[in-house]
Point group: C2
Chain length 231, copies 2
């Protein structure tokens, strides 16, 4: 039944938080772990970690902002083109509507009726072309700005967690143990909620997020050791 269907779809804001926090928890964690394998001073780890968080949040936030703006511009340009075309070459555009329905096996007569009917309301006609011929959804207003801020802030929050133990101890080795403990727990909890809101199996989803973080950190640790002749 229709009211029983649960086609779960996370909201855009939750998606942005997930994007930012997922990389924010993983990359600064792995960078700090890698550096801990190469230098003893936690001061350098903190400096590198903060530089990474600043760089990563700006790259991801501004990147999200510009991607959003590009999408808005693209939508506006295509919308203008479609309005222009239904004005200039309505028969051609009707044929395009018919082609969409031909693809679903409707007979030509019915295709024609649908196209004629749709052509009576220009706005709905253009809306149909945008969504079903071009596959474009109208972007939300101010989405780009909110998206940039949400992604950037989530990256910072995620990145501070693995870095925090390095603030409190001079030994990068000791800080690494605490950082692993804290971050792996947070990755698991984050993965659990991420899977919940996106409608995936929560436990296996949590494990996946945990494993990516652990693999990235282990690989960074091993590479940094290798470079510094640590093995």
């Amino acid at each position: 039944m229709h009211h029983d269907e649960k086609h779960l779809k996370s909201s855009d804001t939750i998606r942005d938080i997930v994007i930012g926090m997922s990389d924010g928890l993983t990359v600064p964690f792995a960078l700090a772990a890698g550096l801990s394998g190469a230098v003893n001073s936690s001061g350098i780890v903190v400096t590198a970690g903060i530089a990474e968080i600043v760089a990563g949040s700006i790259a991801m936030g501004l990147g999200g902002f510009l991607a959003g703006r590009t999408e808005e511009d693209h939508y506006a340009a295509e919308l203008k083109r479609e309005y222009d075309e239904v004005e200039r070459v309505p028969e051609q555009e009707k044929i395009e509507v018919m082609e969409v329905f031909a693809g679903f096996g409707l007979p030509a007569k019915l295709q024609r009726e649908v196209a004629d009917e749709m052509a009576k309301d220009t706005d709905k006609w253009v809306d149909f072309m945008m969504r079903y011929e071009l596959g474009l959804e109208k972007p939300e207003a101010n989405r780009a700005t909110r998206s940039a801020i949400t992604i950037g802030a989530s990256y910072v929050v995620g990145g501070i967690i693995p870095l925090s133990p390095y603030f409190f101890t001079d030994s990068s080795q000791r800080a690494l143990y605490y950082s692993c403990a804290v971050t792996l727990v947070c990755l698991f909890v984050f993965g659990y909620f991420k899977s919940k809101v996106t409608g995936q199996p929560a436990f296996s989803g949590a494990l996946k997020v945990l494993i990516i973080g652990a693999l990235a950190a282990a690989a960074a640790f091993i590479m940094a050791k290798l470079i510094n002749g640590g093995f």
Copy 2:
């Protein structure tokens, strides 16, 4: 005219290269710039930079892989549900088809005819529901694996560029000048081609990519200096 319309859409592979290289050029560049503001030895910058590249490429590559797999699972589950529903409650599903067309202003009689016609071919009917009711496109086979490798490799290629000057000189200050020169040129060229393949204005697109990279590097540099009392 239809054959004159150029609704440019970059292929999935190009999109993956753009995703990986865009962050790969920006974040390791900014991290190296930030550390250069705090430490004199380019050895530490190289270690941190490589740890970041390893961590970032794994996080982005594996992240892309799991996102792709999740999308495939989600599609398969919804497809099974729709086949099940057109079997169990066909009238209800026909009403859902009619609702889609009601949204485009078709009269009830025509909605009914379209729904009845579509119901004659179960595969096309389910395909319609998947795409237009649920907005789900069939994911390409093996997309997740290829996507992971492309994104990860592009991140590595992008990240090696800003880091390369630090391999050849002991002074992180001197390396920073070369790194800025090389990377800003590469960001501009990359932004130019990225804009070309995505159908955006190439020059302003190139400038945007350049500015994000420069801002991230400047912010990381200033933060690292501040932490180390450099100002």
